[in-house]
Symmetry: C2
Subunit: 497 residues, 2 copies
């Protein structure tokens, strides 16, 4: 059938794969500036950079992604020539565990490392939800000390303030998986045969933000019907059991000490629960001594974190200011960073206990938050554009940009078709150029050039109404060729005022 | 059979996939500093950053890799859920063509962009040959002007000098595919039925470095037997045809003008060849006017570049100093950057001609070259380590590092098991710490701390022979707790002298 059709040229579609996107100009600059600010804090805390390969063996990555309901478990994977499976990393923690296990005899112990870069998730793309995004992580491997967890939380607080989130606009909430396990034990949900129920309870608590207390309560019992009529099966807990879990979720009090006291009551009789509460108390007291009060870092039992590998303290940074969502409704911006302790991740490789804890900052979300609040002052600036009046004198124009660049000024010659001069100025506008340079044959003969203040020109066009004002503030002037660099410098400085 | 064996725990191997590696500490810092220097030059030339997705559709990437002898054409590819094929980018040029085609109505024209990041090749890994490596590219899309090609070459020259390759240690060689096509036409190798022969000729010329003139000559004729006895089939050219091609390869003269004159003779009768020579002349004259002489950028007919998409000027930066190879033999370091004009790459998507030209710097090779020459002064420095004498006083130690960090000093508390103090000092050594701080209970009571100059200590241990000298230059001293920041600052400054 296809053969009968007239053959036509099949062109590839000029699109990235579904769920992927590109970043242009200022977006790239802003992100790299933010990454530099974040890593400066990490560096000051003594963390060392690590860049692991983007590709890992599937067995090294393991299966720890939440809500695994897709055939290839949320990762992009393929087979190598020798039939072994490899995959793109889905986070920076699983690769760290592999790197540490591989190099444990050479790395310092404890090993503080930071890493930044893209990670990939084979998830259903949606609005604002991409399959490649940046993370910027800091982890301490090789110590069970709660001082490591407290340090990560303090550093996260410092980092958020360093990139421009003022105190009061964020809160770092800390919980402990052991407390949750203790609560489940008290509720009669320990034991290997209760795996499924525990999973449902964990996911239900993680959805508190979205479903509210009633929604979570429904999921602890028989199940929950959502607005569309879809039914989600619940954990099937009895009322008594559900009450214990609900009590845990509303155990937060005004101070860390009070919250810990309340949690202590709730896990009475569970060793693991008591241990979790003791760890929380230690973190709270360390942070308190360092002056990180509950206005910055707070104990909050409603934090559970989705990833499967956490074993102790878990923490989450949330931005607390309100934004308008896509439907114009007010909502809190939400989580921009999270992490916790994962004492068993290295053990997968080595068989030996290697305690570890760390945090991951969702760089793209944090950038979005800063843009939302107008707190990004991009240093991205357009170049000076030297226009081409006479295409045989390219080397004259090249000499101008060379002089400007030598003086540290960003500058370029117009390289399109120079015939239509209007197009050259339109190009300069599109490039957000501060200044355009014009040198026709007449100017060349007289040893002068025209320089045009494009920033001022745009402002004048918008503001000035009388032609007298135009004359008083000329956006274009003639200068001696020899004064080019000095005059352009002065014009750019004036535009920046 | 396997079932009979006793079940044992299968642990994942703590290794990256074959051909991948990790980068630690100073390596990461040095690369990101070099990328910053490169992009600063690109920025000053008016190029804008672009970060395209690492994953592309297979159809968008196209098939342009050289020496394609592997089943999946040199790329890592897999199928999405909807059965469409996606792949990791193998360079930054093919994605640029896709991005430009997609956004051509919104981007400035011409569009100068730079990009940096990892690319992936599904090739046989070997020593020093990895399947993930960094590139840093600059391209100008939307102009056929040779001024764009000349600009890229000049910028490449500036960039190499900016990262620390002095003039005289590199050469940028420029050629033109059209001249080569003209030569092939003169040799009677034009026409669609000669595709295979032309491919063999092109690959043979590209191997000049390795095979020498005789080896290339053999490949132009019947073929070549290498040292191991393996035979590579040649293009089967007659002696007359081969002479034309060999003449082309040795057409280089002392100046660009002379080389162009010689090339002009060789392509007599071929329109495309004449056009190529005219382009080379234009580039040479533009560069000459800007002061980039043949000591930096030279016309050299032996450059062809492996990639299949080049259509006009091609260029390559080679480092000319000698290094010792793995077998201890002297050899030139070789190519660290290359590029050229690819006027048809965007057309694949749009059907319309969009001329473009650009360069790619092999960042990892350039870094290796700088390391080889001892020209990297890494700014990577270890942190001050505050040791733990008394584990109940963690918050005292935390307060010290907080004070140091507030003063801009990199500092950390030892977070391992503090029992063995020797281990703490060994840790500080491994971290390349300049200073260690010690505060036991006794010091605490007296309001003092011990500070230990680890850099000096190491130097003293190596240099000093008498105990009098030890006393005269104490590597450890007792200071008032209140003077901590000032004294540590002074000690670090002294160490840096």
């Amino acid at each position: 059938m296809a053969k009968d059709k007239k053959k036509k040229i099949l062109r590839p579609k000029a699109l990235p794969p579904k769920g992927f996107r590109d970043y242009f100009g200022a977006e790239v600059v802003e992100r790299s500036e933010m990454l530099r600010e974040i890593t400066a804090v990490y560096h000051r805390y003594g963390f060392d950079p690590l860049e692991s390969s983007a590709v890992e063996t599937v067995e090294a990555l393991g299966k720890f992604l939440p809500d695994v309901d897709r055939p290839n478990e949320g990762v992009f994977a393929w087979q190598d020539e020798d039939d072994s499976w490899m995959a793109l990393r889905y986070d920076l923690t699983a690769p760290l565990a592999r790197v540490y296990a591989q190099n444990r005899n050479d790395l310092p112990s404890p090993y503080r490392r930071f890493a930044m870069g893209p990670v990939w998730r084979n998830e259903k793309p949606g609005p604002g939800r991409y399959r490649q995004f940046y993370q910027c992580d800091a982890d301490t491997v090789g110590t069970a000390s709660m001082a490591a967890d407290a340090e990560i939380c303090a550093m996260l607080s410092d980092t958020l303030e360093a990139v421009g989130i003022p105190r009061g606009d964020y809160i770092i909430r800390v919980n402990n998986r052991k407390v949750l396990n203790g609560v489940l034990e008290v509720a009669g949900l320990s034991g290997d045969d209760k795996d499924a129920e525990r999973g449902i309870v964990l996911r239900a608590i993680d959805k508190l933000d979205r479903l509210g207390l009633d929604g979570v309560r429904a999921l602890l019992g028989e199940g929950r019907k959502d607005a569309s009529g879809d039914f989600t099966k619940g954990a099937g807990l009895s009322d008594e059991q559900a009450d214990v879990v609900m009590g845990f979720m509303s155990a937060k009090r005004d101070t860390g000490a009070e919250t810990c006291a309340r949690l202590s009551e709730l896990v009475q009789g569970s060793d693991i629960g008591a241990q979790g509460v003791a760890e929380l108390e230690e973190i709270a007291s360390l942070l308190d001594a360092q002056g990180y009060g509950p206005d910055r870092i707070d104990i909050d039992p409603s934090v559970v974190r989705g990833l499967g590998y956490y074993t102790g303290p878990v923490y989450e940074a949330e931005l607390t200011f309100e934004i308008l969502d896509e439907k114009g409704r007010k909502r809190q911006f939400g989580s921009v960073a999270g992490g916790g302790r994962y004492d068993d991740l290295v053990k997968r490789f080595t068989g030996q206990e290697v305690p570890a804890t760390g945090v991951s900052i969702g760089v793209d979300r944090l950038l979005a938050a800063l843009r939302e609040k107008g707190r990004i002052n991009s240093t991205a600036k357009g170049p000076v554009v030297v226009t081409v009046m006479d295409r045989d004198r390219m080397s004259d124009y090249q000499a101008m940009v060379a002089e400007l660049r030598d003086a540290g000024i960003r500058a370029e010659v117009y390289l399109g078709n120079p015939k239509n001069f209007g197009n050259q100025l339109k190009y300069a506008d599109k490039r957000e150029s501060p200044v355009a340079i014009i040198e026709g044959g007449d100017e060349k003969d007289r040893g002068v050039v025209q320089i045009k203040d494009l920033a001022l020109g745009a402002r004048l066009a918008a503001e000035i109404e009388t032609s007298e004002e135009w004359k008083a503030q000329p956006a274009q002037k003639e200068i001696a060729r020899g004064d080019l660099v000095a005059e352009v410098k002065a014009m750019i400085a004036r535009a920046a005022e």
